[in-house]
């Protein structure tokens, strides 16, 4: 922990979890993380927009590909922009994130799953209307 001395000296100005350290030229060091993130995010976005329109791939695979690309891009944003890393000073943030992802997964997949089954088991709406007359 070579940084602990300088961190303590700086007191409250010490860095947030995952932030770059203030050794050397802060400006150029800190910016690199954002430049890499911007590059990767741009690449993934371009692929997403390309995939959505292309006829080169099997059509039913497109939503799956878009989902995978979106999740990958969110990962890029989390690591390079929000600096959520696997470092020891970031444990709490990662645990909170894991819990958030669990809830998001349950809400979205659960809703889709239940509603798809209900649609399957229910009469079509026009027939329900006829029964009510």
């Amino acid at each position: 922990m070579t940084h602990s001395e300088s961190d303590r000296d700086r007191g409250e100005l010490s860095l947030a979890p995952g932030d770059e350290h203030l050794g050397g030229d802060v400006f150029s060091e800190g910016i690199w993380s954002y430049v890499i993130g911007l590059g990767l995010a741009t690449l993934l976005t371009l692929v997403s927009f390309f995939i959505a329109r292309t006829t080169l791939v099997w059509q039913p695979s497109i939503p799956v590909a878009l989902t995978v690309l979106a999740v990958a891009q969110m990962g890029v944003h989390l690591v390079f922009f929000l600096h959520i890393t696997s470092g020891p000073d970031n444990v709490n943030n990662v645990l909170a994130l894991a819990f958030g992802v669990l809830i998001v997964f349950l809400v979205i997949v659960g809703s889709l799953w239940i509603m798809a089954h209900m649609n399957q088991n229910m009469l079509p709406m026009d027939q329900i209307m006829q029964m009510q007359r």
Binding site: M1, H3, S4, D7, R8, G11, E12, L13, S14, L15, A16, P17, D19, E20, L22, V26, F27, G30, I31, S33, Y34, V35, G37, L38, A41, T42, T45, S48, F49, I51, A52, R53, I62, P63, L66, T67, L69, A70, Q73, M74, H77, L78, F81, L82, P88, D89, N90, V91, N92, N93, A96, L97, G100, I103, V104, V107, I108, G110, S111, L112
Partner: protein, 215 residues
């Protein structure tokens, strides 16, 4: 690096119990880490709220009530520009934070201004899109699909608008009070908020727009 090391179980070596003062210094997370953690919890709860809107949209996607579908309405060119605006504003927001940490006021103001301009450009495009949809008779009252669409995308737009107001506030605070530790903590929260909005936009352009035109 002093703080959560000890909480995470590193830095504790039973064979060499540290001095009391040293231990206390090691166990206390800095204010900046605690503030960032608290705001991160808020952001996650915001994302959970968005997940409910996403679930509603996904369920109601095909409930068009005989009206237009996503593929009839969405303009991917417009969405691409909106995406570029938000991604670049996220990047310049990061530059502004690096500048603030290095106490470079000019870089900070310049990067924040560019962030604001990209953000306002995004809002402008989105408002135009909403107005044109409503003018085509595809307003939020047309079908359950469009209600869910306007709720989800509009809620994100409201967040961006709030973020823009916050951005101006932060510029004013830095101007009035300088790079004080408490101002830097607020800047940290603002940057986390702004990056989180971009994450939600990634989900929106993928799920709503691109899947809408692909299907």
């Amino acid at each position: 690096m002093t703080g959560i090391d000890a909480l995470a179980g590193r830095g504790w070596d039973p064979s060499h119990p540290p001095l009391v003062a040293e231990h206390a210094a090691g166990a206390l997370a800095t204010k900046r880490i605690i503030v960032g953690y608290g705001f991160w919890i808020f952001l996650l709860s915001d994302i959970v709220m968005f997940s409910a809107f996403f679930a509603a949209y996904a369920v109601l996607r095909d409930a068009t009530a005989g009206g237009p579908r996503g593929a009839d309405l969405f303009d991917t060119g417009n969405v691409a520009i909106e995406t570029a605006c938000l991604l670049l504003s996220s990047f310049t927001c990061g530059i502004a934070m690096v500048a603030a940490q290095g106490r470079r006021a000019l870089w900070f103001y310049a990067a924040m201004t560019v962030t604001f301009l990209f953000g306002i450009g995004f809002i402008d495009l989105e408002v135009r899109e909403f107005v044109s949809l409503t003018a085509q008779g595809a307003g939020p009252t047309r079908s359950a699909f469009l209600s869910a669409f306007f709720t989800l995308v509009g809620c994100h737009g409201m967040h961006v608008t709030a973020g823009l107001l916050w951005l101006l506030t932060m510029m004013a605070q830095v101007f009035a009070k300088g790079f004080r530790p408490d101002i830097l903590r607020r800047l940290l929260c603002f940057s986390l908020f702004w990056h989180a909005l971009d994450i939600i936009w990634v989900a929106i352009f993928s799920v709503v727009y691109l899947m809408g035109v692909a299907a």
